[in-house]
């Protein structure tokens, strides 16, 4: 049990996907202008991550043991079709939610955090439950990073900045300080 808990915590803060491993930087830069959109994007990500973790576990256990060189190709196909299925399901069940998520849904396919999750899960040999906790932790970590970044960006929007600091440069500098703050969590694991 405590192992599972540490997998979750480690994926969420210590090895935060965005701030420590540089995965999922596109949504981190692209949709972090508003807290509300950041939250919605994060929720969609957690959902796809959990589905991916389950499917990848299935693939690893029953298919890829016989054809390891197909790993990457089958993962990306699985992720692309998962996103497509999720998109169609949401469209059918709740057109309102579908319209709200808009372009964010298809964008998840090229989010490296999802493929990164699948690859890390495989490399570390996680079982079914471990993979599930890893996916939830990584997803929560992504939400945490996105929401933190969005709140800071909403604040800086109103402040008086020099012209050259208004682009992505500032976002990256803020990301650097956030990442530095998250390094403080590294002590959690060694104890």
């Amino acid at each position: 049990m405590s192992d599972l808990f540490w997998i979750l915590i480690s994926a969420m803060v210590v090895n935060n996907f965005t701030l420590a491993l540089f995965l999922g930087l596109c949504p981190f830069m692209g949709v972090s202008a508003r807290v509300a959109t950041a939250l919605r994007m994060g929720a969609a990500n957690i959902f796809v991550m959990v589905l991916t973790a389950v499917t990848v576990w299935f693939l690893n256990t029953f298919v890829l043991a016989y054809a390891p060189y197909l790993r990457l190709i089958s993962f990306i196909v699985v992720i692309a079709s998962l996103v497509q299925i999720v998109e169609m399901t949401i469209k059918k069940l709740s057109p309102t939610l579908f319209r709200e998520l808009g372009i964010f849904l298809p964008l998840i396919t090229t989010n490296c955090a999802i493929l990164g999750l699948a690859i890390f899960q495989t490399n570390r040999g996680y079982g079914f439950l471990e993979g599930l906790f890893f996916a939830v932790g990584a997803g929560l970590g992504l939400v945490l990073a996105l929401v933190l970044m969005a709140s800071i960006r909403q604040q800086t929007e109103l402040s008086d900045l020099p012209g050259l600091a208004r682009g992505m440069g500032l976002v990256l500098i803020v990301a650097a300080s956030l990442s530095m703050a998250f390094m403080g969590f590294a002590g959690l694991l060694s104890s």
Partner: protein
Amino acid sequence: MKAETTAQHDLVRGIWRENPVLIQLLGLCPALAVTNTVANSLAMGLATFFVLMGSSLLVSAFKRFIPHEVRISAYILIIATFVTIADLVLAAVVPEIHKALGAFIALIVVNCMILGRQEAFASKRPVSRAVLDAAGTGAGFMIAMLMIGTVREVLGNGSILGYSLFGAGYEPWIIMILPPGGFLTLGVFLLVLGWWRGRTEGAQAQVRRWPHGVATRRAA
């Protein structure tokens, strides 16, 4: 967009004026994750260059046979094939660098720069132009990787390609080879670029406008 461009323009454009990392902010994940040493940056840059060239060539050659509805999946499959080749070759030729790069070789598949070039360029132009464009963009990516990698290794480790630069008295800035250093280096590059643009273009209005320009380019 569909204006005629010369072959030379196709080649040169991606290197600096539309540099994928520094100007368009595409492919940031590898640009920040593996640039802690020059050697890693170089290997990653070469692998990405190879994948981009290969997939642009194939996508452009087969553009008539790829149905419009499934084109993204088809591009991803082509890219994934080349990434698998690059992964196996790197593992065989330079095993220690392959180990250092870890999962990030596989993650070239989801590098939005590569997919972006297929969608925006290779799927519409003849093979020769697609290859030129891929070479230019790939070179631009490599240049950006090397710039970030050099700054991070020199400051963070006091060395370049493993050779010590400053002697034993140098106290390395460890933070530069850790994750925050990646964000910081690229952030400073972007600030300097913004300042430089503001100066060369002269008009103060431009300085204030360029972040919005970047935003629309990213959305496109």
